[in-house]
Symmetry: C2
Subunit: 210 residues, 2 copies
């Protein structure tokens, strides 16, 4: 790993900047923030400096204050800036990342960024934290901490994904899920729930109201 990278490591994407206290607290406690292109300017305006900026620099503007971070130019048009940042992270041996700013604004990027979780989940430990949810991806059996009434949504990528759950208000028992809206707005019953899935699924865990 790059010697100067400090944990925890955050990637700030160029969607809507966080406003909820949960993603903002994660950002404030970051050891290193890697920005995708123009999000470096947004972070700068928030009063923080990125460890590195990665992208094709088509939306980046040179800041007024001196910027001592790394600038990593990746012009490959086949990858989005978030993919470039994740590829760089993999090459540098980073094992765990929280992604902020990945949703809101452009819906095509929001959708693409969800798919990125499905593309990278088995290579690096990832969580995407938005103003509404903590979004993760996994395959097989996994348990999560919850609170009673917490919104839990489960969305697969592949057709015929078999999903079973425990401790949700509307239980799923070997249910064949498709990439559709059939498991949105479920609710946790207690302090944890578990889910078993035959193919990778996205899990959306809602934040507390306050």
């Amino acid at each position: 790993m790059e010697n100067s990278l400090k944990q925890p490591i955050i990637i700030l994407a160029n969607g809507a900047f966080p406003t909820h206290h949960i993603p903002l607290d994660i950002l404030k406690k970051a050891g290193s923030v890697i920005c995708t292109d123009g999000s470096a300017n947004t972070l700068n305006a928030y009063g923080m400096t990125p460890f590195a900026v990665i992208g094709d620099f088509d939306s980046y503007k040179e800041p007024k204050l001196p910027f001592s971070g790394k600038k990593i130019l990746e012009s490959d048009q086949d990858n989005t800036d978030l993919e470039k940042a994740l590829n760089w992270s993999l090459e540098n041996g980073i094992e765990k990342i929280t992604i902020l700013g990945a949703t809101g604004l452009r819906e095509d990027m929001t959708l693409a960024n969800h798919y990125i979780l499905l593309d990278y989940y088995d290579q690096i430990k990832l969580a995407m934290v938005t103003d509404h949810f903590t979004i993760t991806c996994h395959k097989g059996q996994k348990s999560y901490d919850t609170f009673p009434g917490q919104i839990i949504s489960i969305l697969p990528q592949h057709f015929n994904t078999e999903v079973s759950t425990t401790a949700l208000r509307y239980p799923l028992n070997k249910m064949e899920l498709h990439p559709s809206a059939k498991a949105v707005s479920n609710q946790a019953m207690g302090a944890s729930f578990s889910v078993d899935a035959s193919k990778p699924i996205l899990i959306f865990r809602g934040h507390t109201e306050n």
Copy 2:
């Protein structure tokens, strides 16, 4: 079709209320607005009255002013409110709908609403208009009006979707697309482009800046 339904017909979902002039103009020119649950309150606050409200009424609040529209209670937990509104529209012979307010806020619903376009595209003529894009779904060959520099993103649902395009900055020639970020932020070159896809795809056409 319901006698009192007037064209054009809009479904207002319960995501972020439009702020861009393109979706707002569509809303203002609506003949009938069908609201999903709590979006009736948002529409009311905007000074308009829905033709009907459809959903499980878990987020709807009785308005202060008298409401003369239809209230259609559908409690089925297996369908989202937007699916309920579309099913009701199909049952009532509606052939064309523009969906507003379907994105922003909750990312699980935003994702589910994209999938709904893929579920219903061959049953009813649908366009989803957001603050950033007009989003449609089709399979096979189709042409679209564009302007030079317009952002065009193409996202498939199925793996191995073969896609070819004309008149885009980064041409696709029988390219095998997967549900991933490989065809985001393309650009139209002129007044139209066409795309041919072996399986259904989502097309995101960016709005003008002003």
